[in-house]
């Protein structure tokens, strides 16, 4: 996944592009494949959760998300984790600039 995390005036703005086919049930039926899509995305800085999204089959393929959070987090690591319907999980990290 691609992560951008910029801190300005006490607010970190994060842009994340996860790689995932996000195959909906209808798409899966047509392609004779298993439906699979990201169902939960969280972002943390240390122990603190800064973003939490429960998601569906209706996010676009290779989901792009943008969010922001407060805090003096310069140099700290932003950790993004997603889980999909099949139970697979992926984590990405980026230092907040």
């Amino acid at each position: 996944m691609r992560i951008k995390a910029k801190l300005k005036d006490g607010v970190t703005t994060a842009k994340v592009m996860a790689k995932h086919p996000m195959m909906s049930y209808d798409e899966a039926k047509k392609k004779k494949k298993e439906a699979n899509f990201i169902t939960h995305i969280t972002a943390k800085v240390g122990d603190e959760v800064v973003y939490d999204a429960s998601t569906s089959q209706f996010l676009s393929k290779n989901p792009y998300i943008k969010f922001a959070f407060k805090g003096e987090n310069k140099g700290k690591e932003l950790v993004i984790t997603w889980v999909d319907l099949s139970g697979k999980s992926k984590t990405g990290k980026k230092k907040i600039k």
């Binding site: 607010v11 969280t42 996010l59 792009y64």
Partner: protein
């Protein structure tokens, strides 16, 4: 000959995955499973908000929603129904949910706003046909919403 057996069993036990639940915000897919399967009426071509309202009730426990306090940005016309940029903003919201009337099911995403989180989110969604995107925010236990009709020229759900 002496054989030393290093009992690595203790280590193997700790290898089992443990997810620290200490600061996990709510996973609405687990806590509100019915909200995710609430359907939009298939025969109404995206024009009915019945499915959206039913999903709101499943998720929040009530369908009493006032218009206001929520800013929803989405294109008037989506050239590509598979990639529709949506931004929602609602100061003071603790939860924000996105619904639409176009797809087989109504609920798209739920954001749980953490302590230092800023309730403004952008994402890209799919819509299989023209329909209404509805953003609902929970502020102080009350629900508020904003709606936007998005015209879809080429359906985005593999159609």
């Amino acid at each position: 000959m002496e054989r030393r057996k290093f009992l690595g069993l203790g280590v193997a036990l700790f290898a089992a995955s443990v997810v620290p639940a200490s600061l996990m915000a709510e996973d609405f897919r687990k806590s509100k499973p019915n909200a995710w399967t609430t359907k939009n009426p298939a025969d109404k071509k995206g024009e009915s908000l019945d499915g959206v309202n039913a999903a709101i009730k499943e998720l929040f426990g009530t369908d009493k929603v006032e218009v206001g306090n929520v800013k929803l940005k989405a294109p008037d016309i989506a050239e590509n129904g598979a990639v529709i940029p949506v931004t929602v903003k609602s100061d003071k919201a603790t939860k924000i949910a996105i619904f639409q009337s176009a797809n087989p099911e109504a609920l798209v995403a739920v954001f749980d706003v953490p302590k230092n989180g800023i309730p403004e989110y952008s994402m890209r969604i799919k819509m299989s046909q023209t329909g209404t995107v509805v953003a609902v925010a929970q502020i102080d236990g009350k629900l508020y919403k904003a709606e936007k009709v998005v015209k879809v020229t080429i359906g985005g759900c593999g159609g």
